[in-house]
Symmetry: C2
Subunit: 164 residues, 2 copies
């Protein structure tokens, strides 16, 4: 809270008055974050011209994040899932909502890719979308333990290759 007061310039009074407590503030921040990252990364998968390359790019951005500075390794989703979700039903609900949306977006993107002949016709896009969601988080864990960019890229490519 100290940090938030300093960085935002909003007083403790204001924060507690508006959000009640740290927990509530966090929940709203999480929703905001998810909404933003959905718009920034996943919306493009819903365009009719979405291709496998769109998916590749989403992963590439994440891998790039992991591999650079010490900061910003991982995302709020995975930290929340690991540290809070099992004991907090409400947060779990927020995470599930957005992760399901993520899987869905992947599935829609894959369907478009299928129409373009980039993936095999019998691919089950729903299952594949869930797999990609899981892969995203697996990558973050490996990235945090310092695995090289090459390894992370390799995992993404193997996964995408399996759709062909």
């Amino acid at each position: 809270m100290e940090d938030i007061v300093r960085e935002t310039g909003v007083s403790r009074y204001g924060i507690y008055g508006t959000f009640g407590n740290k927990r509530e503030l966090f929940e709203q921040a999480l929703e905001e974050y998810a909404e933003g990252m959905g718009k920034r990364s996943f919306l493009r998968l819903l365009e009719p011209d979405a291709s496998l390359d769109h998916i590749r790019t989403i992963f590439a951005e994440r891998v790039a994040d992991m591999s650079c500075c010490d900061e910003s390794k991982g995302c709020l989703f995975i930290h929340t899932a690991m540290e809070l979700a099992p004991q907090d039903e409400e947060l779990r609900g927020v995470l599930q909502k957005f992760m399901k949306r993520m899987g869905k977006a992947f599935a829609v993107g894959l369907e478009s890719a299928k129409a373009r002949g980039e993936v095999r016709p019998d691919l089950e896009v729903k299952a594949a979308g869930e797999l990609l969601t899981s892969t995203m988080f697996g990558l973050v864990v490996l990235g945090r333990t310092g695995f090289s960019r090459d390894v992370l890229d390799g995992i993404v490519e193997s996964t995408l290759a399996s759709f062909r």
Copy 2:
């Protein structure tokens, strides 16, 4: 530390005398844990008769862990990777050592499965082993956020199916 003193029955004096501090105690616990889980789960992949089913079983055990009680969701590896690895080079080294070993074990198991004709002959087992390592952690993240056993099993099956 309070909890450890209570649960082990060892006095603070003894713990600090033997391990120095919480950090050192933790590092040794992590190695112990990794060693044990390696022996319990991954050693069988090195047997010459290892099959795809051995891999499936390892994942099934993990999925079962995730889906039952509130306790024990996740493992020490992933928690350490998420919470400590980026700021602690030594722990990162420990994690990397064991995660690489894990990938290697998967690769060896896949090679045996290939000999049995269970996976396609041109599968790159090294890359596939790394992918399975990543998948393992991805599953834990989804499990923690409450995804159903069916979804988790589906991800495992899609992944294994992609090797055929």
